[in-house]
C-alpha cells in the first residue's frame, strides 16, 4: 500500500474498486507526497481539507460504476474551479476566485474524481519552461536544475513525481506534449473542439485545447473519455456522441500506414533524437505497420505563423484584464486610462507583455494584411499539407521536441530560442489535429525523450491504439529517484 502512488491510474482504480485501498487512504498518500515535494513548486493552491471530505463521502457511498471513482486529481491552474482561487500563473489573477466551474473539470468531478489542488503553469500558458509563472519556476523531478517544460509544467512535474495519479493540461502550441516529453509521461492534445474551452482562462482561442497527462496510454484513454463532451457553452465545441476510448483500446496495428515526414529532421537536432525516432519506427514496423515517407512542405513556416496568430488572439483575449471587474487593480494613476495602463503593467509579466505587444502590432491599422492575413493564409497551407497526407496514411510519427529538458535559465534571455522548442508541436495546433506524446527513451544524459503520433481530426482512438501497442513494446520505464523528499 505504501507504493500506491507510483501506480498507474488504471491500477489505482482497480485497487479502489476491490477495496484494497479506500479513497481516503489514497488521498492521504498523495497529500503526504505533496507535502514532501514543496521543492518542486508544482502547486499554486492545495485543497486538502476539501479533498479529504470528498474522499470520506466516496468511501461512505462508493459508486464504482463511475469512470474515475474515488480519485483525487490536481489540475492545471488555468481551469476555473468554483470557489477555489484560479490564477493562470499570473499576478493579475492572484486574487481571482471563480463563481463557476469549467466544463472539463466539472466532467471529471461528475465522473467521480475530486480536486486535490491547482498546478503551477506559465503565465496565461505562455511559455515552454514554466519560468514565466508569477509563482516561480517549477522543478522537473528528473533533475533539480531542469525545467519541467511548459506551459503545463506544474502538471508534468506533479504527475512524474507521483503527486497526482493523472492530470490535465492545456495545449495551444505544445503545452501538454512538450512537458510530457520532458518528464517521461504521456500527453494528448485532442482535436480542436473535442474538449470544451468553457471556463478555461483563454490564451489563443482558435488553438487552445485541454487534454490529459498520464503515466500510461490506458490512463490517457480513461481521462480523455471523462473530460471530453459536447458543450453548448463553447461555440466551437463539436457535437458528437461521446466515445468510450478506454473500452475500445486495442494493440493490433497490423497494416496501419504510418507517415514519416522528412521536414521533422531539423538542423542541429541531437543524434539521440534521431536514434529514438529510428527506434520508434522499428517498433511500429515490427508490429506490422507500414512506414511511408511523406512530405509536409510548410512545416518550417508553422512557428512564424503561430507567433502571429497566437499573440494576435492573446492580445484580444487579454484585453479583458482591466482592473475593473476582477483581478488586480493598480492604486496608481490619475484617470481611467492610467489606471488601465498601470494595472496591466503591474499585473502581467514580461513574456505576456511581449506577446500582447506583438499581437497588438500585427492587428493594428496598416499592418493587418502584412501579418495577420498572411498568417491565416499560411495556416491554410499547413492544414492542407496534413489533409493531403491523411488520404495516404493513418497517423504520422515524429519526435515530440527538438531536445530533452534544458536547464533553468538556459533560454530565458532569448525568446526565439525558447519558441523553437515548440517546432514539432505547433503545426498540429494550427491544423486542429489530435497528437499524442509518448515517452520513448532517455538521451545520453539520462533525460526522457518523447515521440509524437499525429492523427486525423477526431481520430483519437487510432492514435491511442498505436500508442498502446507502442508502449507495450517500447520497454521504457520511468524510474525517477525521489531526491526532493
Amino acid at each position: 500500500m505504501s507504493n500506491i502512488t507510483n501506480q498507474s491510474l488504471s491500477e489505482i482504480l482497480e485497487s479502489v474498486k476491490s477495496k484494497k485501498i479506500s479513497s481516503l487512504e489514497l488521498t492521504q498518500a498523495y497529500i503526504k507526497n505533496i507535502e514532501n515535494a514543496k521543492k518542486l513548486n508544482a502547486f499554486v493552491t492545495t485543497t486538502f481539507d476539501q479533498a479529504l471530505e470528498n474522499a470520506k463521502k466516496f468511501d461512505n457511498k462508493p459508486n464504482n460504476d463511475l469512470l474515475l471513482h474515488g480519485i483525487p486529481l490536481a489540475v492545471k491552474d488555468l481551469f476555473c474551479t468554483e470557489n477555489i482561487k484560479t490564477t493562470a500563473g499570473s499576478n493579475i489573477l492572484n486574487n481571482f476566485v471563480p463563481s463557476y466551474e469549467s466544463t472539463v473539470t466539472k466532467n471529471l468531478w461528475d465522473s467521480g474524481a475530486f480536486l486535490l489542488g491547482k498546478l503551477n503553469c506559465d503565465e496565461f500558458a505562455m511559455g515552454s519552461s514554466n519560468e514565466t509563472s508569477f509563482f516561480g519556476n517549477v522543478i522537473n523531478p528528473v533533475g533539480d536544475q531542469l525545467v519541467p517544460g511548459g506551459s503545463s509544467g506544474g502538471s508534468s512535474s506533479a504527475l512524474a513525481a507521483d503527486l497526482t495519479p493523472a492530470t490535465i493540461g492545456t495545449d495551444t502550441g505544445g503545452s501538454i506534449r512538450q512537458p510530457a516529453s520532458f518528464t517521461g509521461t504521456v500527453g494528448l492534445k485532442p482535436t480542436y473542439g473535442l474538449c470544451s474551452r468553457w471556463g478555461i482562462v483563454a490564451f489563443a482561442s482558435s488553438l487552445d485545447q485541454a487534454g490529459p497527462m498520464t503515466k500510461t496510454v490506458s490512463d490517457c484513454a480513461i481521462m480523455l473519455e471523462a473530460m471530453s463532451s459536447f458543450d453548448e457553452k463553447d461555440s466551437t465545441s463539436i457535437n458528437k456522441k461521446k466515445e468510450t476510448y478506454s473500452k475500445n483500446l486495442k494493440d493490433n496495428i497490423k497494416g496501419m500506414k504510418i507517415g514519416i515526414p522528412k521536414e521533422y529532421r531539423v538542423d542541429n537536432m541531437p543524434n539521440d533524437i534521431d536514434e529514438l525516432w529510428e527506434k520508434g519506427k522499428k517498433i511500429l514496423k515490427d508490429l506490422g505497420a507500414e512506414l511511408i515517407d511523406i512530405s509536409l512542405p510548410h512545416t518550417k513556416y508553422a512557428l512564424p505563423t503561430y507567433y502571429i496568430v497566437a499573440p494576435a488572439e492573446a492580445s484580444s483575449n487579454l484585453a479583458r484584464y482591466d482592473g475593473v471587474r476582477y483581478g488586480h487593480r493598480s492604486q496608481k494613476g490619475k484617470d481611467l486610462i492610467e489606471m488601465y495602463e498601470n494595472t496591466r503593467s503591474e499585473g502581467f509579466g514580461d513574456e505576456v507583455k511581449r506577446r500582447i505587444l506583438i499581437g497588438t502590432y500585427v492587428l493594428s491599422s496598416g499592418y493587418y494584411d502584412a501579418y495577420y492575413l498572411k498568417a491565416q493564409k499560411v495556416r491554410q497551407l499547413i492544414k492542407k499539407d496534413f489533409d493531403d497526407n491523411f488520404t495516404k496514411v493513418d497517423a504520422i510519427l515524429t519526435p515530440s521536441t527538438p531536445s530533452s529538458a534544458f536547464k533553468i535559465g538556459e533560454k530565458t534571455n532569448n525568446p526565439v530560442s525558447m519558441y523553437l522548442n515548440d517546432i514539432f508541436t505547433v503545426p498540429v495546433n494550427l491544423a486542429g489535429l489530435p497528437a499524442l506524446s509518448l515517452p520513448a527513451g532517455l538521451d545520453k544524459q539520462g533525460y526522457p525523450l518523447g515521440l509524437q503520433l499525429i492523427g486525423k481530426a477526431l481520430d483519437e482512438q487510432k492514435i491511442l491504439n498505436i500508442g498502446y501497442a507502442f508502449e507495450k513494446n517500447c520497454g521504457y520505464k520511468n524510474e525517477i529517484k525521489k531526491w526532493w523528499s
Binding site: 453548448e232 513556416y301 471587474r325 489606471m339 500582447i356 495556416r379
Partner: protein, 95 residues
C-alpha cells in the same frame, strides 16, 4: 521592417500597458528578433491562397435569444476590486 522605440511606445499605448523607460531598449531588441523570425513568411507567395478562418468544418451554432441563467449579480460583482452597491466603480471619467 524594424521597430523603433517610438513605435513600441505607441503600440504599448494601444495595448494599454505602461512600459518602464528602462526596459524599452531590451524590449525593442527582443521584439525585433521575433519579427525577424516571423518575417520568414514573406518567402512564400500566398496570392492565391484563401485565409483560414476556422479549422472546424462547421459553422457557429446560433441559439435562441433568451436568458439562460440570470439573477447572478452578486456572483458577477464578487471579484470586483472596487464596487458600490450594484455597480463597478472606476476612476472619474467625466468632469
Amino acid at each position: 521592417m524594424s521597430l523603433d522605440k517610438e513605435k513600441i511606445k505607441h503600440v504599448a499605448k494601444l495595448a494599454r500597458i505602461s512600459v518602464d523607460e528602462a526596459k524599452v531598449d531590451s524590449l525593442t531588441k527582443d521584439l525585433n528578433s521575433i519579427f525577424k523570425f516571423i518575417e520568414q513568411l514573406n518567402e512564400l507567395n500566398t496570392d492565391k491562397v484563401e485565409p483560414l478562418t476556422s479549422i472546424l468544418n462547421q459553422s457557429l451554432r446560433s441559439r435562441k435569444d433568451e436568458i439562460s441563467d440570470g439573477k447572478i449579480r452578486e456572483k458577477i460583482l464578487k471579484n470586483s476590486p472596487k464596487k458600490s452597491e450594484e455597480f463597478f466603480v472606476v476612476p472619474k471619467v467625466v468632469e
